[in-house]
Symmetry: C2
Subunit: 304 residues, 2 copies
């Protein structure tokens, strides 16, 4: 068989703030070389208190929340999940090359302690404390891009002084109506196509799918406007959404995510900017932040 190209690992990536760039070309390595040389400390275990398990009939989707970027929304999603708000709800929308979205198709389910409206959290202030791992390449949308806390991010130091998570494949955000404060986390979406970066700074992102995108991205596209499903039987049900920390240890999925704040990650990114596998003829010399898939791996389960 002809391989279109070497594999993108079915995974997602994490580096050191400065070392990504031409300097690394002195010791060219393939991605496989780089990952093979990774040490235990180059990987991290996502915090179970910020990890969601969405259980679908087809399996488990694992989402890592990003409290730094949207503290109110992350807290509210945890409250919703604590109330079992999502259990029995459904995937309500799949729009090709755009998003899948889930929540209450009837918009009737009551909540207990969680909120139904929250202040906008689409950006956070840029400040020296923000641990940006910077990508040196030009970006169409943001003056600077890179990773913060392992999530892809855009930064505009001036004039706005803002940072935000970039809308890449697999990012999870909060559906809202026209009013900026009309979202709460009771409807969530995941990006399944070309990064819709025009959404950056327009809507609240809360995290990223670490595992299970292949359960979401092949959902049949909805026949209605914007990919909404029109009949109940078209909607894949959600069995439950739980915080990993509330699930017995034996039932958790043991995974590790490549750290983005290590020298190894810088080498990883360089191996994606300039592909050295035999198949490639012309190295690209650059990479879009949304084309750096951050590796996630299965690891032996923790002992309960």
């Amino acid at each position: 068989m002809k391989y279109l190209a070497l594999a993108f690992m079915a995974i997602s990536a994490s580096g050191l703030a400065a070392a990504i760039g031409p300097g690394d070309r002195d010791k060219p390595q393939t991605t496989a070389d780089v990952l093979k040389s990774a040490k235990a400390e180059d990987w991290r275990r996502p915090d179970p208190a910020n990890t969601l398990y969405m259980e679908l009939p087809s399996g488990r989707v694992i989402i890592e929340l990003a409290p730094r970027f949207a503290p109110l929304h992350v807290a509210n999603i945890k409250a919703l999940v604590g109330e079992k708000y999502f259990d029995g709800l459904a995937m309500i929308r799949a729009q090709d090359n755009y998003v899948v979205q889930w929540g209450d198709p009837d918009e009737k389910r009551a909540t207990e302690n969680s909120k139904r409206q929250l202040a906008m959290e689409s950006v956070i202030p840029w400040g020296k404390g923000l641990p940006l791992v910077k990508l040196p390449d030009p970006d169409t949308y943001a003056p600077e891009t890179g990773w913060i806390d392992g999530f892809p991010a855009g930064v505009e130091r001036k004039p706005s002084g803002q940072a935000w998570m970039t809308h890449c494949y697999g990012m999870v955000g909060v559906g809202r109506g026209n009013p900026p404060d009309s979202g709460s986390g009771s409807e969530l979406y995941a990006i399944i196509g070309q990064a819709p970066r025009h959404l950056d700074r327009n809507i609240v992102t809360v995290g990223r799918v670490l595992q299970g995108m292949e359960l979401l991205s092949p959902l049949p596209r909805g026949p209605g406007a914007m990919g909404f499903y029109e009949k109940p039987k078209q909607r894949m049900p959600i069995k439950s959404i739980r915080l990993a920390s509330s699930v017995p240890i034996a039932e958790r999925t043991a995974i590790e995510v490549l750290r983005t704040d290590t020298p190894l990650f810088a080498r990883y990114v360089e191996s994606r900017r300039n592909r050295r596998e035999d198949w490639f003829l012309v190295p690209a010399g650059h990479i879009d932040v949304c084309n750096v898939n951050i590796p996630v791996r299965d690891v032996p389960a923790a002992k309960p």
Copy 2:
């Protein structure tokens, strides 16, 4: 329901070489405004002699070929299609956030007059005759981007003097092995995820899916390495691939594609660079060439 954002039309886009840019901000228009004002001459009918119909059990996928960019490969694909080479073959691969690929899973089917190896056609020479409709925004991968013949394109005037089609969502290319000349068009792929622009200039692109991406992108991801299917029953069969010009007029799909070489297209692109719909709070100010979906519409069928 909360709308994540206004619709991306389930379609794809086409403008005037210079008019895209800040100048148009004087008369801000939404995309709906722009398309509403389109005249008959802002649309084009794809040439049936360069249009493929791939018939799947789920429906018809329509692909427009780009002979300027890959004349040998386009001619060879037409020869293969003329031999009914693809009839009864199958989708052989679906890799999440990357590609679906089709061809002969057994690599045994004989060909008649078509070739099995062709010289590389991953770039064409940049020259003054090339009708580039230029996008003014910075791109991570190419010095210049825009559209040529209605297809998204990258250009490097110096030092290489090259132009090529960019690997955007829905683009169709030719699978190959490691040798650059090992592709022929007997295995084709379509992009179903984030634009893998590192493939630009590394592989031959031959066209773009105009209609039917929603039949390809939700294929179940293959369980094997790189998304290959492992068992025959996992593979969606291809009923046939035909050149539209060889199909009776009454059986053709009457569609039009928005031209990319008109003032209207420039306004269309501007409406995507800076979204004026009420939902948006912050216009992006820029757009990636792969985020400009070129509208395709159904039209009344031609009379046979």
